[in-house]
Symmetry: C2
Subunit: 342 residues, 2 copies
DNA sequence: TTGTATGCGTTATCAG
DNA sequence: CTGATAACGCATACAA
């Protein structure tokens, strides 16, 4: 077990100074070809690699990005993560990944842990609890410290920073429009409780579409399910009492679950009831019938988030210009499958 | 935008030395209550937090763990990741997450990137290419440098280090046994090409079960699919030419995909053909019918991997005892769903 | 009880 | 062309 070799050791072995070694390895013009060759050869032999920590300390830049997501098991977040990782990788940044588990406290702990020099910036989707409690002091604090932050998907208007998301309202609107175009009249919305920004926006799109196309708005056709635990009896109850011919769900799990329950009742999908879900994930693809889905293009979202963040990080090095924040809207589109009629 | 405050600044403001501040903040007995109070109050006011980098540099410990997985979109890896994250979090370690994308080169790049001081140890599942090419020099190298490594799921005998996995052979054996107990006679195996350790073991279990229960071994009943791109025509061809009444698949995707294709042909599952898959993931749960699955308990696997690694890391601080490596076998079990008959 | 000096591994500045 | 020195932020052995 050989410890990693350092400049100092090389210097001692070769009987030169540390700075000579340092410069030689950077191929500085100050050093003679001779010594450069000698030093480089030696360094290569011993697999010299500069210590990242020391460099980070010196540069005050870690080349690490903190990514905090509510849950890594959800396909959408995973996909965004992939996008972030991909872009960052290519630009020499590593990802420190944390899971907030939908908890405000864990979100805070993770941020504080990383904010003390471990990362150059954050990419984050708000946890459920954070959105519910509307508490953003931890975000303000890191912003105050001059650490860049990019919010994606689950965002808030209360914080000024870069953001990436889809146009949830429009996406929901288009989903409902598709139902209407297919002649559906009794269109239900199955969503979470209100505190999610995305759910609010999607509900707004749903309402807007009904309004615009002259369909009556029946509040009983909106089912709000608890977010964490799937409530089967509520779903069964809903479909027993309400007469619906189309259902827009704010996520894939809700959609697949409802579709399964409805089919178990012997109702035909898509003939009797059509389904559209958000998040074009693996479940949508392999469902039976396939679930028509609103693709959120998570990978792109991740790439863009990373790009925005790295841009900010590297800009901060330059002149201290006025901070300006952007909100990128990713275009979403509908992936048609068997759960709706073409 | 206020930069983070440092010991030095506190010392200057309070007109004491840096070490006094350092000690006071650690509540050292050397410092008088008075000055301690004063310094602590000041530090609190300015939200002093020690810089992680500096501490890491000093201690030669980062409290970071490098996790390299082939693909984060796969449910199993994600679940293991969750387990690692969970355990590490609780023990004060952060996760630097990298995706090798099934590529040896990316695996190497990622490891080298992190091995230079960014992490205290690695947890890794071998990429497809790494297994295919049987190249492990990069692993030997980091082991040589005294950096602990834990391999999970996709492991190799060629490297001596800690490992966590399930007993794939036994699990496959039990899957086939279940089919046989249900009276199935023509049991197929759908697997990947040979270079995956897990696939080899699962195939061994399959063969062992047939042998042991006196069923003929028909090589034509073993279908090897390319790993990356799903080959539908090969699957269709297989089910047209072979007469089977049960199928064991080495992963969830294969199983779901085959089940769908078979059902599209009008074949009834589980009446005519039963299915069992590996990886009890989200697809298995929401499939129609539900897919009977061999649970690999990824979360536990992750926790154990993290535990082993952190154990090694923190032991290394103690006496330089003989290195001893362990292989933990996680118990797997079958989750029964609609794709097999009870 | 407080402070000085040294080191963790680098890099940059400046002197020789 | 080469080397000494300081600095990044912190901790600690040793003086005072």
């Amino acid at each position: 077990m050989k410890r990693k070799i350092t400049l100092k050791q090389i210097a001692r072995e070769l009987e030169v100074s540390i700075s000579t070694v340092s410069k030689a390895l950077k191929d500085s013009a100050e050093i003679s070809e001779d010594t450069k060759q000698k030093i480089k050869a030696f360094a290569k032999l011993y697999h010299y690699r500069p210590n990242n920590l020391a460099i980070s300390l010196k540069n005050r830049r870690t080349k690490n990005i903190g990514v905090i997501i509510p849950d890594i098991v959800h396909y959408f977040f995973t996909t965004v993560f992939r996008g972030i990782e991909h872009y960052s990788q290519e630009h020499g940044y590593n990802i420190i990944a944390c899971v907030s588990d939908e908890s405000l406290e864990k979100e805070i702990i993770n941020m504080e842990m990383l904010a003390n020099g471990s990362v150059d910036g954050f990419i984050l989707a708000l946890s459920a609890e954070t959105q519910k409690k509307n508490e953003f002091d931890h975000l303000r604090e890191i912003l105050d410290q001059g650490i860049p932050l990019v919010l994606f998907d689950r965002v808030t208007d209360e914080i000024e920073c870069d953001k990436v998301m889809i146009n949830d309202q429009e996406a929901a609107f288009l989903g409902v429009k598709k139902f209407i175009d297919n002649g559906r009249k009794k269109i239900a919305l199955i969503t979470t409780e209100d505190y999610f920004s995305v759910s609010r926006d999607r509900e707004a799109g749903y309402r807007q579409a009904l309004l615009q196309f002259g369909l009556p708005l029946d509040e009983d056709l909106i089912l709000k399910l608890p977010f964490m635990a799937l409530d089967e009896s509520a779903i069964n109850m809903f479909f027993s009492t309400q007469e619906v011919d189309a259902v827009l769900c704010v996520n894939e799990i809700f959609a697949i679950h409802c579709m399964n329950l409805v089919q178990q009742k012997g109702i035909k999908v898509p003939e009797e009831i059509s389904f559209i879900g958000f998040t074009d994930g693996i479940l949508s693809k392999y469902a039976n019938p396939g679930l028509t889905s609103i693709a959120q293009h998570g990978f792109r979202m991740g790439e863009i988030a990373a790009k925005m963040l790295i841009g900010k990080i590297e800009d901060d090095l330059g002149e201290e210009e006025e901070e300006t924040y952007h909100t990128e809207i990713i275009r979403s589109n509908i992936i048609e499958r068997g759960s709706t009629i073409n």
